[in-house]
């Protein structure tokens, strides 16, 4: 779909109207997962493993079931076992055999917090009491938390039948390395042989949680004839329906999922956790069952993203041309295979035009919660390592870091090492805008440093549906199936529809359609909301316009070719000899019922042609040499967003992504004890940035339109989290004159690096 509209004609796209969901959200009306209730509902609670690794010998629920007020208990015996079966669900393909085991442990528990049973009771306090009465007989097994330890041949093994995929010949011994991937192009050895300067480093990052403020929450109601209604906080209600149907061996038509307002997701709400448990508890108790996670449960058993160990080697000639690039990425997948190591491997070096590249990735299981997608899954980890090495290489060559990137930058037509040639992209434009920004030349004080880093993300399209209903007064009900995961995509979609129809933005009311009223929609992930959702809404609006033109042609008794749509009216085509009285949308709508029926436009598409996004970030930090504390003084994020439909909401995506990246760089980490138990499952000890930790985050929106989208949209939500890790590490390294390779750059770690510095 490519009939792009020129900027000069746009009336609504590019403006800043107030979001349609705004008043509900500032008044407390908006209903999130935990805000939905039904008469007679029970409260469901989950019993979780206290061990990081153990065999379940027996589960006795009889005492819990006997407790007054307990209406149902479920364990592994209440769910069908699933064979290996793969499906796309967010970052990587999921395996239903693993999904059912992660939702409710079967043979073994594989992490602290792994569900082993669930109860439904008349109150939360009774449900909690019942959990204490469930007896689980465990045979505790040795565990492994660290990714490098998990890769050793003698490490405790999570999956006895897991043989490393992607190696030849096939291994004869099982391993925690679930998969090995390799991407290569050119001759890396020859490239390094030609290099005059080489940088080689090893980097480590810790798992971090998506940190959405709303814990997972759902409410299920099952009828005696097997119909299920499910309300849940999700990034993809159709995907949740598909997963519940598969896991419970139900027909899809028997499950209706209504998404609630979502209190943050960032990839963490792509997959089901409690939903199938709530459905079966409801089926067994004949009552609605509501399940709301505690924050501790969110930390112990949902998300996080992988921790990563990344080795990088880069070589360049003295004039600043990179001759070879190598990286090995070892990613924690958590309890089941499926980390983001594949996309991370594919975007590690994609910002550069390189002849000789080799990237090896390992997907490694260990006794941690199964990782979930997190905003540009894997890319920040890869970019932290590569952009740190690029910075060091530029330093060794005495070339300005932006200039060095420009010398090697990917452009339109650059051949990637993982597959296609890049299309129209704006990487160079972001580098040039960053170099021209006053921030880049501002003076620095003592113990201060400036860092630069860049990010790339693919962005995706995918299955998408929308309906544009022309109401009887000419206003519009827009029903879309790509959830607004809060970035403001529903405002952007309504803006594009208003632009197409030529009516005021306020006359288009967008709502999210539930799974019963629209065709399938993929999850809102991969920065596809405004891109793919917008494409579907524009397609539906154009179909409605075609039908409006046809109707006016019939009413005015003229050929349809003589009718055009402009400025909210059906009018005679310019230059046409056939004249007639124009009709406004409201006039047509009022007559629609008497002239053939109401008018609507639909779109059921699989959106193709997503435009990759690139960003360049500049950050200044101050380091307290005594405590090791780092303060972010100034931050500028430059990004090619294709076209900003609603610039304020696009800026918000950049600012939010940067803040998450700053947390990842400076504070956030999962801390495990020697016992394999998570020690910081709360916001007190898992510290995400607060208002007083951050400066204003300046944004520069570069617009190199995506030629495949009617309004030039690229996804914009994920790119901004990629560069901050390396940008901050580079800034700290410049402030101290020490290269720091392990995140987070928390005060103890930085203080130690200062103390350990060779005199």
């Amino acid at each position: 779909m490519s009939s792009a509209i020129g900027t000069e004609d746009l009336k609504i796209v590019g403006s800043r109207p107030l979001r349609p969901d705004g008043v509900d959200k500032v008044t407390g009306r908006a209903r999130y997962g935990a805000d939905v209730s039904l008469p007679g509902q029970l409260i469901g609670k989950v019993l979780r493993s206290p061990h990081p690794h153990a065999r379940i010998l027996a589960i006795d629920t009889s005492l819990a079931l006997a407790l007054p007020g307990v209406k149902a208990v479920v364990t592994r015996d209440d769910f069908p076992d699933m064979p290996d079966e793969y499906a796309a669900a967010g970052e990587l393909t999921i395996n239903y055999r693993d999904v059912t085991r992660n939702m409710m442990a079967r043979e073994k528990v594989l992490y602290d917090g792994h569900p082993v049973a669930a109860v439904a009771a008349i109150s939360e306090s009774v449900a909690r009491e019942a959990l204490k009465l469930i007896k689980v007989d465990y045979q505790v097994l040795p565990h492994v938390i660290d990714v490098r330890e998990a890769m050793r041949p003698d490490a405790p093994l999570l999956h006895e039948a897991q043989y490393t995929e992607g190696v030849s010949p096939k291994p004869d011994k099982p391993s925690n390395i679930a998969k090995r991937l390799e991407f290569s192009r050119g001759d890396v050895a020859a490239g390094f042989a030609r290099a005059e300067v080489i940088v080689e480093r090893e980097f480590n990052t810790q798992p971090v949680h998506q940190g959405y403020i709303e814990p997972q929450a759902c409410l299920a109601s099952t009828t005696e004839d097997g119909q299920v209604e499910l309300w849940t906080s999700t990034q993809g209600h159709f995907m949740f329906r598909a997963q519940c149907a598969k896991l419970l061996q139900m027909e899809v038509s028997r499950i209706r999922v209504t998404p609630t307002e979502i209190g943050g997701g960032f990839g963490g709400k792509n997959n089901i956790y409690n939903e199938p448990l709530a459905i079966v508890l409801s089926r067994k108790s004949h009552r609605p069952v509501k399940m709301v996670m505690s924050r501790e449960e969110v930390f112990r058993a949902t998300g996080p993203t992988s921790g990563g160990n990344v080795k990088v080697r880069l070589g360049a000639t003295k004039d600043g041309r990179i001759t070879a690039a190598f990286a090995e990425l070892n990613f924690q997948a958590g309890a089941y295979p499926g980390s983001s190591v594949a996309p991370a491997s594919m975007c590690a070096f994609t910002r550069y035009d390189l002849d000789n590249v080799r990237v090896i990735g390992h997907d490694v299981t260990c006794n941690r919660p199964k990782v979930a997608a997190y905003r540009a899954p894997g890319a920040p980890i890869a970019a932290f390592a590569v952009e740190s090495a690029i910075d060091e290489l530029a330093g060794k060559l005495a070339i300005d870091p932006i200039e060095f990137r420009l010398k090697n930058a990917a452009r339109e037509g650059t051949q990637t090492y993982y597959g296609p040639k890049l299309g129209t992209i704006g990487y160079v434009e972001t580098l040039e805008a960053a170099r021209a920004h006053p921030h880049y030349r501002a003076p620095l004080g003592p113990d201060q440093g400036r860092g630069v880093a860049t990010g790339f993300w693919f962005n995706i399209g995918g299955e998408t549906s929308a309906t544009v209903n022309i109401n009887e007064d000419g206003t519009v009900a827009l029903m879309h199936g790509t959830l607004d995961v809060a970035g403001g995509s529903r405002a952007a979609m309504a803006m594009m529809v208003a632009e197409e129809l030529g009516i005021p933005f306020e006359q288009v009311r967008p709502i999210v359609g539930d799974t019963a009223v629209l065709g399938f929609n993929f999850i809102t992930a991969g920065s596809r909301g405004t891109f793919a959702g917008g494409m579907a809404c524009v397609t539906a609006a154009r179909q409605a316009i075609d039908r409006l033109r046809t109707r006016v042609a019939a009413i005015r008794e003229v050929p349809v070719e003589a009718v055009i749509w402009k400025d909210g009216q059906a009018r005679p085509a310019e230059g046409s000899a056939i004249r007639f009285e124009p009709m406004s949308l409201a006039q047509i709508a009022r007559l629609a019922g008497k002239t053939g029926g109401t008018i609507a436009g639909h779109a059921e598409i699989n959106a193709q042609g997503a435009g990759p996004g690139f960003g360049t970030h500049i950050v200044d930090v101050a380091v307290d040499r005594e405590t090791g504390a780092i303060r972010v003084l100034r931050y500028t994020a430059v990004q090619d967003v294709g076209r900003a439909i609603h610039p304020a909401y696009v800026e918000g995506q950049l600012q939010g992504g940067v803040a998450q990246g700053i947390g990842w760089a400076l504070n956030e980490e999962y801390v495990y004890g020697a016992d394999g138990v998570l020690q910081n499952p709360g916001f007190l000890d898992y510290r995400i940035p607060v208002a007083s930790d951050l400066p204003y985050i300046d944004t520069v929106l570069v617009e190199v339109p995506n030629p495949n989208h009617p309004y030039g949209v690229r996804g914009c939500g994920e790119v901004p989290i990629i560069a901050p890790l390396a940008a901050i590490a580079n800034a700290v390294s410049h402030a101290l004159g020490i290269r720091l390779c392990d995140l987070p750059l928390s005060p103890p770690r930085v203080a130690r690096a200062i103390a350990d510095r060779p005199a």
Binding site: Y86, A87, A88, A89, G90, E91, L92, T93, G166, V167, S168, L181, E182, F183, S184, R185, Q210, F266, G267, G268, N270, A342, P343, M346, A373, Y374, R375, A376, P377, G413, Y418, G419, P420, K421, L422, G423, W457, F458, N459, I460, G461, G462, E463, A525, G526, S527, R528, N606, Q608, G609, A610, N708, G715, E718
Partner: protein
């Protein structure tokens, strides 16, 4: 004939081959031809593979046309958070 390139990681399932020429009219025909030629690759094609045709990336687009002299790349599918 379209020029087909496979991402290096897929070489494991093709006996090392990463570049071939095929006479195919769309992605479905491409997958069928590749699956026949490389049985180990067959099960991965529809679930794990994205296709770039002359620089444009297509995912889950079996009916997408492939013109005679197209440059086609196969590589792992992408999603996101």
């Amino acid at each position: 004939m379209a020029r087909i390139s496979l991402s290096s990681g897929l070489a494991l399932y093709t006996g090392g081959e990463t570049a071939i020429e095929l006479e195919v009219g769309n992605v479905r025909q491409l997958f069928a031809a590749l699956g026949e030629r490389y049985p180990e690759l067959a099960s991965r094609l529809e679930t794990e593979i994205a296709v770039a045709i002359d620089g444009e990336i297509y995912q889950d687009a079996l009916l997408q046309k492939i013109a005679g002299a197209s440059e086609v790349f196969l590589f792992p599918k992408i999603a996101g958070g």
